[in-house]
Symmetry: C2
Subunit: 207 residues, 2 copies
């Protein structure tokens, strides 16, 4: 889980710092998270923190981009070789909504939206490592299904975008704007079933 890999990271408390920073940033946002609070949460002195990261901005970027990469992993489509198109789409929908609607995914999204003009590269990083990658995977899968004659799509990229949008329905926004604070399993399956139905109604290959 911990990453010992990269070259120039010095001491032993690096992961502590990043973990603490992640929790505080996710809870408070960028401006709301004071460096003192972060060092406290990390169980590390402020001096130590600053020995790893020259300033708050860099620390935030490290946390944010690592979260983006983590998100990207979840978006990966399994080798769903044997499955039907419908089953595969349902699987993808489940995976992406699970992350999107989780409290954690919410906060990542929230912060990326909020800070993406203070940190323009953050918005792009999030988009590229998250939605963009997920879309690329699904697009590829759709193209293969088209080649097999199972789907009839002229623009697979657009179709993939449509599918992800359909999976959100309004559940996403209801959570995002604090209209409700959680979402039931039944609501999710209702939405993603409808998403798959609508998608296939448009793109299923004619008999």
């Amino acid at each position: 889980m911990t990453q010992h890999s990269p070259q120039i990271k010095k001491g032993r408390k690096y992961d502590q710092v990043v973990t603490g920073a992640r929790s505080v940033f996710l809870r408070e946002g960028y401006e709301g998270a004071s460096v003192d609070a972060i060092s406290r949460a990390a169980g590390v002195s402020k001096a130590t923190l600053y020995s790893y990261f020259p300033d708050k901005k860099l620390l935030f970027l490290e946390v944010a981009t690592s979260e983006c990469l983590r998100q990207a992993e979840l978006a990966r489509i399994q080798a769903t070789s044997g499955q039907s198109v419908r089953a595969t789409l349902l699987d993808v929908a489940q995976r992406v909504t699970a992350f999107t609607l989780s409290a954690f995914g919410q906060q990542v999204f929230r912060i990326c939206v909020a800070e993406s003009d203070r940190f323009p590269e953050l918005g792009r990083a999030f988009y590229q490592s998250g939605p963009d990658r997920a879309r690329a995977h699904l697009t590829e899968y759709l193209a293969e299904a088209v080649a097999r004659g199972e789907l009839a799509i002229d623009d697979c990229r657009l179709a993939a975008d449509q599918f992800f949008e359909l999976c959100r329905a309004d559940l996403f926004y209801r959570l995002l704007f604090n209209v409700k604070d959680s979402v039931t399993e039944a609501e999710v399956t209702r939405v993603i079933d409808a998403a798959v139905d609508t998608f296939l109604a448009r793109y299923r290959a004619p008999v």
Copy 2:
């Protein structure tokens, strides 16, 4: 345009204050907007500003909720009596994307997302006066079309949500995350045409 209506608003520079606050809040966000900057932008002394609004939070809420109401007006569906379903949907799509994708709509959304846990009531206000109202209108229209036998929908509310999601496609997120800074007319029509096509493929009444 200016609102003389409510009861307890004292002096003549009220609108100046609100207008200046709006521009700065939209540009900088809540934390980023200093009261000094706002008073400067409003062409008003800080003392005057504080004579209208007891603190920064109240000023922000005034600006934000007034923007939400303004947004709600735009979401209203015209009396589209004579039109075909397809034409009406295209019209709705055009209207909603025009606001959603505008720089102004972007910023309103951004701020509401960012501040909706610091100001929980703000998120709800935005959702209710914006997306919720738009969905209600479209739901009503869809139900009428079903009654006329032009559409076949079992859950009009969910269908309306799906339609709005389809209209966004990924254009919205590409703007939100600074992947691109503007969007061409052609891209929009391509997306909303596809949205209407997909929607009708699922919900058009069988012959």
